[in-house]
């Protein structure tokens, strides 16, 4: 385990460049313990796969003091991180998932196989980053791994479910993007008027549930207060 400064206002704790659930559990346990301690210099903590950023106010404390404080939590033990199970309805293919045929062909499978393989696992939310509410999910079946688009799309609609290499994820907001789109969820992943503003949170488990277009439209209207045609 390594402790290093990230500039003059943050400490980066790293458990090595790895992606394991056990390591991620340690990261979230440590993050919780630090948050709970209520240090007056603590600005915020940012967990990732196997690293944790402790952001502090350098006017109030020094790097050395923060490092000592964080080290004192290391023996505190690791809790397995009990998130919620969030079911994410997805309409696969068609205009909602324009790349699903490519993903099928690329992997020598049928479209139904892709839907089946993609919606079977329970995915873990390792952390959020990249965009507000974007979840780094672990657990995708490598049989459906597909490289990114050569030319990213200018506009990917919010809720789009995509595959990039061995990862899968959901675009929380309309944005440019190079992932292969296989479907779309009607759920709102980021809503600044809500507290917390994100549907998914670190440690949650996610299951994709296939729905048809009618269900998608109904859920969309309920979620966004407008129709999607």
């Amino acid at each position: 385990m390594k402790f290093k400064p990230l500039g003059d206002s943050a400490l980066l704790v790293s458990f090595g460049e790895v992606i394991y659930e056990e390591v991620n559990d340690r990261i979230h346990s440590l993050a919780k313990a630090i948050e709970k301690a209520g240090f007056e210099w603590l600005m915020e903590v940012v967990p990732a796969y196997s690293s944790l950023l402790v952001v502090y106010d350098p006017i109030k404390t020094s790097y050395t003091q923060v490092e000592d404080a964080v080290k004192s939590f290391l023996d505190a033990g690791i809790e397995s991180f009990e998130g919620r199970l969030v079911e994410v309805p997805v309409v696969y293919g068609g205009k909602y998932g324009p790349d699903i045929e490519f993903v099928a062909e690329h992997n020598g499978l049928t479209v139904d196989d892709i839907i089946e393989i993609h919606s079977r696992p329970v995915y873990r939310v390792y952390f959020l980053g990249f965009l507000p509410g974007f979840a780094y999910l672990g657990g995708m079946d490598e049989r459906i791994a597909t490289p990114r688009l050569e030319r990213p799309r200018i506009k990917v609609p919010a809720g789009s479910v995509g595959i990039a290499g061995k990862q899968t994820g959901i675009y929380p907001l309309e944005s440019p993007g190079g992932w292969r789109l296989i479907g779309r969820t009607p759920l709102r992943l980021f809503d600044p008027s809500k507290e917390p503003p994100t549907l998914l949170r670190p440690g949650d488990r996610v299951r994709f549930v296939p729905v048809d277009e009618d269900e998608f439209r109904e859920l969309y209207e309920r979620e966004w207060g407008e129709r999607n045609d």
């Binding site: 500039g7 790293s14 796969y49 196997s50 952001v55 980053g129 990249f130 965009l131 600044p192 994100t198």
Partner: protein, 333 residues
């Protein structure tokens, strides 16, 4: 209330930024140059973190629909009803007055503060605009903004002497950095390149990050890509091209490129105020030195605030061939 008559460039409402939501992927946002922005707020008697207008390069034209006191921070021409008035000075505007803010002669971001601040409904604890996630929007001509309540008496006529204003006119600026934490992803030669060459700010730079051009920084056999880790504004990432990117206030919260350094917080405004085509040089300091720079800067800002509030005097003194600003307390009569 104020109404925007013309908006020639990017104009947003910003405050000191959004805290506590980075773990949900929400950037901190806020003032690109917090030094100038805080001074603009102090000039009109606001707390340093009050919401104000931030413009990129060229300022807007604004009509006042009620009396207000305003101040413009930046190396820029300012007109009130067509008559030139000083920047870095607080002025009284009456109902119907029109404020025109020109184009910055140096630096990249300018600020317009109003006594009482811009009234806004905070989203996730801040009024900072981050349009990508519908946290506010970039302002357009025709938009109207409400100002917060303030007693205006005594807020106008405050003046910041030129020697106390930040100077961003140099075409090449030195920026202090704390090296790491990804140094093992670079060769010794690569680190040496980063610290000895100058890097040019490219036009592909915005509130999210400044892309720099210059001699490529050599990666070690560990390569440019890392398992995604958290980052902060000021982080210098180096992708496989070897050309560094300085993350700025709207930066994503995590990133997958090796980090060679992080800009000292006190020097982030210097980066923010560097235009495309201008150059940056990086100088390594320790974490403690970077912290000292910030504490010293904070003391100066507090002294400037007290000076503008009439609590202390400022003097220019010569000592050991160096010109320094000294502050003394105003004696009560």
């Amino acid at each position: 209330m104020i109404e925007l008559l013309k908006v020639p460039s990017l104009l947003t409402v910003q405050d000191s930024g959004r805290r506590g939501y980075r773990k949900l992927g929400v950037p901190v946002s806020g003032f690109m140059d917090d030094y100038s922005a805080r001074m603009a707020n102090y000039l009109v008697g606001n707390p340093g973190d009050a919401p104000l207008l931030e413009f990129l390069l060229a300022g807007p034209t604004v009509r006042f629909n009620a009396s207000a006191v305003f101040a413009v921070a930046g190396d820029v021409g300012v007109k009130l009803n067509g008559v030139p008035v000083e920047p870095w000075t607080s002025h009284w505007a009456k109902r119907g007055d029109v404020l025109e803010v020109g184009t910055l002669k140096s630096g990249l971001y300018g600020y317009i503060a109003f006594a009482g601040g811009i009234k806004c409904k905070p989203l996730l604890g801040s009024c900072s605009t981050y349009p990508k996630a519908n946290l506010g929007k970039s302002l357009e001509a025709g938009d109207k903004l409400n100002l917060g309540y303030a007693v205006l008496t005594g807020k106008d006529g405050r003046y910041l002497p030129p020697e106390l204003r930040p100077d961003y006119s140099a075409k090449e600026k030195t920026v202090r950095v704390v090296l790491g934490p990804g140094l093992d992803h670079f060769t010794e030669e690569g680190i040496e390149t980063f610290l000895s060459e100058s890097y040019t700010v490219t036009p592909e730079s915005d509130r999210m990050g400044y892309r720099l051009d210059g001699k490529a920084i050599e990666h070690s056999e560990r390569g440019a890509d890392i398992v995604t880790e958290p980052l902060l504004p000021g982080t210098v990432q180096v992708p496989a091209s070897g050309k560094p990117i300085v993350m700025m206030r709207d930066a994503q919260t995590t990133g997958g490129y090796a980090k060679i350094a992080v800009v000292a917080t006190a020097d982030l405004p210097t980066v923010a105020q560097s235009r495309p085509g201008e150059r940056l040089r990086f100088e390594a300091v320790s974490v403690d030195e970077a912290r000292e720079l910030l504490i010293r800067r904070e003391k100066i800002l507090m002294a400037i605030r007290d000076f503008l509030d009439g609590k202390i005097h400022a003097y220019k003194i010569n000592t050991g061939g160096e010109e320094l600003i000294a502050f003394t307390k105003v004696e009560k009569e």
